[in-house]
């Protein structure tokens, strides 16, 4: 298992992703910082870091959609899966090593988000509060959101066996909640059970910072957290079953 983890991390360290995305995040952070600070009407040093962190974390989120899909089926696309599957390791071990690597990548991107927020704040708004409380809330909200979104992306990747489609659907899921919320609110009024649909749980990142969302989702924050864990486990388990049964 440690060998597999080492190998997954080795691939990432020698790949472009772990350098490329943070560069994009840093650029977006600096561009965002520039535009926010140049807004002479509403610029406040106090809310600055929170806004910049939001920009960073949203790019980290898109990065994670791309990463989770690529790590899951990239080996099939490149045929490197033949080396991976023809060794002494079980497919469960390989699958788990990919999940753990995905988690490591998320931690890495979160750390980068903090660093870039800090750098941007120092450059454009050195005074004022860092807004740590809001930033942490934002981070936890997004983490719960990803806990549901990434298993969905991994499942789709394994079903469609196509990286591009999985990434597109992942990004669609990202926007799905805001697109279908007005419609689902109407339907949920009639059919209460529909509040348990997974798309409704994708509102968690908003509900984390805005508790009035409960009126729309019909779920408490705790219910959402429990639901997300259950859905994440189900989606991951199905993704593994598909992964395990693929012939090469």
């Amino acid at each position: 298992m440690l060998t597999l983890l080492r190998q997954e991390i080795y691939k990432q360290i020698h790949g472009k992703f772990y350098i490329g995305w943070p560069i994009v995040m840093l650029l977006m952070s600096l561009i965002g910082g520039y535009f926010i600070s140049s807004n002479k009407h509403g610029f406040s040093h106090n809310g600055f870091a929170e806004n910049i962190f939001s920009i960073n974390i949203e790019f980290a989120l898109i990065a994670m959609v791309v990463f989770s899909s690529t790590i899951m089926i990239g080996d099939f696309a490149n045929n490197t899966v033949k080396y991976l599957f023809s060794r002494q390791f079980s497919r469960l071990q390989i699958f788990i090593s990919k999940l753990v690597t995905t988690f490591f990548m998320y931690i890495y991107l979160i750390v980068m988000s903090y660093i870039f927020t800090f750098i941007t704040k120092i450059i454009f708004a050195s005074s004022g509060d860092f807004g740590m409380k809001y930033i942490l809330q934002d981070m936890f909200g997004i983490s719960w959101f990803l806990l549901l979104l990434l298993p969905m992306v991994m499942l789709v990747s394994n079903i469609v066996k196509n990286n591009g489609v999985a990434i597109a659907l992942g990004i669609l899921f990202f926007f799905a909640s805001s697109i279908i919320n007005p419609f689902s609110m109407l339907v949920m009024k009639k059919f209460e059970i529909l509040k348990f649909n997974p798309i409704n749980f994708l509102n968690i990142n908003v509900q984390f910072t805005d508790h009035t969302m409960k009126a729309m989702t019909h779920l408490s924050l705790t219910s959402m957290e429990i639901g997300i864990v259950i859905y994440a486990l189900i989606f991951t388990a199905i993704a593994y079953v598909i992964y395990n049964h693929r012939n090469v």
């Binding site: 033949k82 080396y83 012939n247 090469v248």
Partner: protein, 303 residues
């Protein structure tokens, strides 16, 4: 102990049966050539052995240890390259070797593998810039990592130039002398004939023949050719002696069943013929295989 034991392997793709009770084994330090036409099932057998594809029934043992979906420990001793090499293209050759090393191969051994497979001159270039032959050599180098006792190579000579083919042949012979067994498939039968100790012929998913190289080549369809002062008389003498003879451009040919030469010479001498030339067909793996497959296909058709 046998390095590889494949017993009654059956595999279906949907409704289509791809393998029928495939059984063979590989002895330590030997090279077994798996031969047969395209689509015969060679790659499916190799994929089943390394766990790339599941099989419906049968058993596979590596070094006496059963290989199942949940017990793959025995694959620790297996290096493989199935169908085509597929290194990580964004990594260099050396990085690919470092990546697939499970920790048991030292840096010195990696250097040795690079030398043996002759990738040391380009191992610091990204694999995406490699030609097919270079990728092939890298694939073989990867299969040599982690001290394998069994190498499974599917068409390893594809894309190699004559010099590289020659070097690979030498490398495989060297490895077999070191006690490493090799299961190899190749369409380059001439090359295979120079290294294989045993052959297993696969056709339509069945083992058609399993034999050691020497008897495989000598067992069928080698002809002995006689040039005499009287072709017609020689033909009659050989037919009378019980041979199935034929005349081909003033040469009388008979099949060599191992003992035919002496008997035929005696028959021709007894008939008072002057023997001007005697020659024996050179053992040819390709011809032997083609004859075997033709016979097998005929049997299939009559079923």
């Amino acid at each position: 102990m046998k390095v590889l034991e494949v017993k009654n392997l059956n595999k279906k793709f949907g409704q289509k049966q791809a393998l029928f009770n495939v059984t063979f084994d590989v002895e330590p330090g030997t090279i077994l050539g798996l031969i047969g036409p395209n689509g015969a099932g060679k790659s499916t057998i190799m994929k089943s052995i390394v766990g790339l594809t599941s099989y419906n029934s049968g058993s596979i043992k590596i070094n006496g240890e059963s290989l199942t979906k949940n017990n793959r420990k025995s694959l620790q001793n297996v290096g493989s390259m199935i169908e085509s090499p597929a290194p990580y293209l964004s990594l260099t050759g050396y990085q690919n070797l470092k990546l697939f090393n499970d920790g048991s191969t030292t840096d010195g051994e990696i250097q040795e593998i690079m030398k043996d497979t002759q990738i040391d001159s380009f191992c610091n270039r990204k694999a995406k810039k490699y030609s097919l032959g270079m990728k092939q050599r890298l694939g073989i180098a990867i299969s040599l990592l982690n001290h394998p006792k069994l190498l499974i190579l599917d068409e390893p000579m594809n894309g190699l130039d004559p010099q590289s083919t020659h070097d690979l042949r030498d490398l495989l012979l060297k490895l077999s002398k070191r006690g490493i067994s090799v299961l190899i498939s190749s369409h380059l039968l001439d090359e295979l004939a120079r290294i294989a100790d045993y052959y297993v012929v696969i056709n339509h998913g069945r083992v058609v023949k399993e034999s050691d190289a020497k008897s495989f080549l000598s067992s069928d369809n080698q002809n002995i050719k006689f040039a005499t002062d009287d072709t017609e008389k020689a033909y009659n003498a050989l037919v009378q002696a019980g041979f199935e003879a034929k005349i081909n451009d003033k040469i009388v040919e008979i099949k060599d069943d191992g003992d035919a030469m002496n008997k035929a010479l005696a028959a021709l001498n007894n008939a008072g013929l002057e023997i001007q030339d005697v020659s024996k067909d050179k053992a040819d793996l390709e011809e032997s295989l083609l004859n075997l497959l033709t016979e097998d296909n005929k049997k299939e058709e009559t079923k």
